[in-house]
């Protein structure tokens, strides 16, 4: 990726402008992530580095939530990996549209986040690289700067719970969850996941309930009758 090309690419600039609403929302959520990470006992620098090099909101929240519940590092990392599982599928779709050798393609793939992937999707199986990079840039800046502000605020606030900060995690997840409930199957999986998480949350060591809930997604393996007219996406 050449910075000069990007700066002069009208497509990348249009992508950056289109991503501004997502970047603003991400900024607020990142502030809450920084505050929550501090409340969970995470060092300020670790929270900032996490946002800088992971750049994956839901996975970061999941990992920090499990550490805060007293779960192990293995459980936290596994939860983050499972949460990022969607990027695996999205990356396969994106692959043919990227350029260059292996290293460059791997690096270009790091600009993948949900909103930028959706905006770059041309709907014909191809993706616009410049839209992807352009829309990812403001979201990255917002995510990192929001985390830094949240970490500072979290260190300064004597009692973040008085401000309801512990409700921000689940509220953000709820907003993401609702956008995932596009089918009856997904809704059923969500209900099953919640039941498993609470029951095992009471009985098993911290973090196990969340991981076990992921197993419910395996209902996707059951055979279904394919719609005959549906074109290959």
């Amino acid at each position: 990726m050449n910075v000069t090309t990007l700066r002069t690419s009208p497509v990348a600039r249009a992508g950056a402008r289109a991503a501004v609403p997502f970047a603003l929302a991400g900024f607020v959520v990142a502030i809450s992530f920084g505050i929550s990470a501090r409340a969970a006992g995470m060092p300020a620098a670790a929270a900032i580095v996490m946002s800088a090099i992971m750049y994956a909101g839901a996975a970061q929240f999941a990992a920090v939530a499990i550490l805060a519940q007293g779960g192990s590092v293995v459980a936290a990392v596994l939860a983050a990996m499972l949460m990022n599982g969607r990027y695996f599928a999205m990356g396969l779709a994106l692959g043919p549209s990227l350029k260059g050798g292996r290293v460059r393609r791997a690096i270009e793939g790091q600009t993948l986040v949900d909103a930028s992937w959706a905006m770059a999707n041309r709907g014909d199986g191809r993706f616009d690289r410049h839209t992807l990079f352009g829309s990812s840039a403001p979201q990255y800046v917002a995510w990192l700067s929001g985390t830094i502000i949240g970490v500072i605020a979290g260190s300064a606030l004597p009692n973040p719970e008085a401000l309801g900060i512990d409700a921000v995690f689940p509220a953000f997840f709820l907003a993401l969850l609702v956008s995932e409930l596009r089918t009856a199957e997904a809704s059923a999986v969500a209900v099953g996941g919640a039941i498993v998480a609470v029951v095992l949350g009471l009985l098993a060591p911290a973090g196990i309930g969340i991981l076990a809930a992921a197993v419910i997604a395996l209902v996707g393996l059951r055979p279904v009758r394919e719609a005959p007219t549906e074109p290959e996406a």
Binding site: A59, V77, A89, F169, P170, E226
Partner: protein, 105 residues
């Protein structure tokens, strides 16, 4: 291992795995697609995980049930989502409702 060491180890392993997951498709040149069933499991994973996190982070604390002001905050969040509010307002509304409930009770 101290809490800080656990946090740093989680950041390191989380970053490596995220890089690998994001990089796999592009490096293998894509072209290949996942089987229909594997793709469905991957699309269903967020619903299972997000729902598990929403519920445990709302009604549990330290491995026990703990129903407190967060439930009110989440009710406000659900209302705002239903009213198609931006995620900014969902998050701010949930925090504000939780804070007000804690102030009152």
């Amino acid at each position: 291992m101290t809490g800080a060491e656990q946090a740093w180890l989680t950041v390191a392993l989380g970053a490596v795995t995220t890089f690998a997951i994001r990089g796999f498709g592009p490096v293998t040149m894509g072209g290949r697609t996942l089987g229909r069933r594997a793709a469905r499991v991957l699309t269903l994973l967020p619903a299972a995980l997000l729902s598990a996190l929403v519920v445990t982070e709302t009604v549990m604390r330290d491995g026990t049930l703990d129903v407190d002001a967060r439930v009110g905050g989440l009710a406000v969040a659900a209302l705002l989502i239903w009213r198609r509010a931006s995620v900014i307002w969902v998050v701010i509304g949930a925090a504000a409702a939780t804070a007000v409930l804690r102030l009152l009770f």
